[in-house]
């Protein structure tokens, strides 16, 4: 089990990185719809890590370190939930 895979990618939806990967892998929806499967909401929360992860899933190769960096970076932004 990858430790970064266990990390919550977005407080909205409370899904881990690995759970988000599974959801993105199983859908044919475009990002703007697929993100709701992870966040469970219509907000644009956690945009950078989520969008990057979606792209990685499409490409077929996950860079966990980069996703971890983007998750941590988001927390630095004030509020952190409206990016």
């Amino acid at each position: 089990m990858n430790k970064i895979g266990d990390k919550i990618i977005c407080e909205c939806g409370d899904k881990s990185v690995d759970e988000a990967i599974a959801l993105f892998s199983e859908t044919t929806l475009p990002y703007k719809k697929a993100k709701k499967l992870v966040t469970g909401c219509n907000k644009t929360c956690c945009r950078r890590p989520l969008m990057r992860l979606f792209d990685m899933v499409q490409f077929g190769e996950i860079d966990y370190d980069e996703i971890d960096f983007l998750i941590e970076q988001r927390k630095i932004k004030e509020g952190g939930d409206d990016e």
Partner: protein, 332 residues
């Protein structure tokens, strides 16, 4: 050229175990034109990097740099600097000495401001500083007249000075995810603009965008728009229009004159109807009006033979329209 600086650099390369990435032969290093240190988990660059006088391309994205050495400003031949996803809190004061820079990527750092010399980088054609913490940009940004591509998205900008008047060649402008409530008037003077992304701001009133007759893509998602108060039909080349998550109650009939429109998205608004003339959009491939207040769809929708994807869920009990050969519809 300083061999001392070069020897210092070689020692640094060896100390970091980077011999497989970087030559350690002094004569080869003197001629080195490209250095790629992407994703090496480095915490700093040595001052001796300034000895690599022939460097034209420097890729240092995906490390842990909080600052760049002052000596980086001595790389007079540097044309392309890729420094995405680091932890930069500031740039060297003399950053503007990098007069040869054409492409600069500073996405995903922690920059709150830019040094004054930054605005002397007048050769820049592609500048991306997305996902930083910029609270303002100086009006001297207007000096960067050669810009073709500018991304300032995901910062903390509450306003922008009138800087676009001389950026005649700019074709891509991304100001998404800031805190803008209005746009500078000079935006209308960008003759060549093809992509304008304004998603995730607090814009209530748009300036007229009618002059942008070359615009291909316009994204106004997640703002506070109540209406579109300019003649949309002037955007005659527009192919992608996204208006999701605003407070629009209607779409103007002008929209039906956008003959080249392929993607129209207005989900998450308060639309009660779609213009009956929508059938005139003969090139429309995708229509997204999910999450609105629609109880009917216009009959003319059936005329759009190109339409393949339709999102209409979360309205007032809309059913999948008959007579269309859709590849996907989110309701039965």
């Amino acid at each position: 050229m300083s061999d001392n600086g070069m020897n210092d650099f070689i020692r640094w390369v060896k100390s970091k175990g980077l011999e497989t990435k970087i030559p350690t032969d002094i004569e080869t290093l003197k001629k080195l034109s490209t250095l790629d240190l992407t994703k090496q988990k480095l915490n700093n660059l040595p001052e001796s990097i300034g000895a690599l006088k022939h460097l034209g391309v420097l890729k240092i994205s995906g490390n842990r740099f909080k600052r760049l050495p002052e000596s980086i400003c001595e790389l007079k031949n540097l044309r392309n600097l890729q420094c995405e996803n680091n932890l930069l809190e500031s740039l060297p004061e003399n950053f503007g000495n990098l007069k040869s820079l054409i492409v600069l990527n500073l996405n995903g750092n922690h920059l709150k401001e830019l040094p004054q010399s930054f605005y002397e980088l007048q050769g820049l054609t592609r500048l991306t500083i997305a996902a930083n913490l910029l609270q303002s940009v100086d009006e001297k940004l207007k000096n960067l007249k050669k810009l073709l591509y500018l991304s300032l998205d995901t910062n903390e900008l509450q306003e922008l000075p009138d800087v676009f008047g001389d950026m005649r060649a700019l074709y891509y402008l991304d100001l998404s995810y800031n805190k803008l409530v209005a746009l500078p008037d000079s935006i209308s003077e960008i003759d060549e603009l093809e992509t304008l992304l304004l998603e995730g701001n607090r814009i209530t009133n748009l300036p007229s965008l009618e002059s942008h007759d070359m615009l291909l893509r316009l994204n106004l998602n997640n703002n506070e728009l109540l209406s579109l108060d300019f003649d949309l039909s002037k955007l005659e080349d527009l192919q992608i229009l996204t208006l999701d998550d605003n407070a629009l109650e209607t779409l103007p009939d002008d929209i039906c004159n956008l003959k080249n429109l392929k993607y129209l998205s207005a989900s998450g608004n308060m639309l009660k109807k779609i213009p009956e003339c929508i059938g005139k959009l003969e090139n429309l491939v995708e229509l997204d009006v999910e999450d609105n207040l629609l109880d009917t769809l216009p009959d003319s929708l059936q005329k759009i033979k190109a339409l393949k994807t339709l999102y209409i869920d979360n309205n007032s009990d809309l059913k999948r329209p008959k007579g269309l050969e859709l590849d996907f519809c989110d309701v039965d």
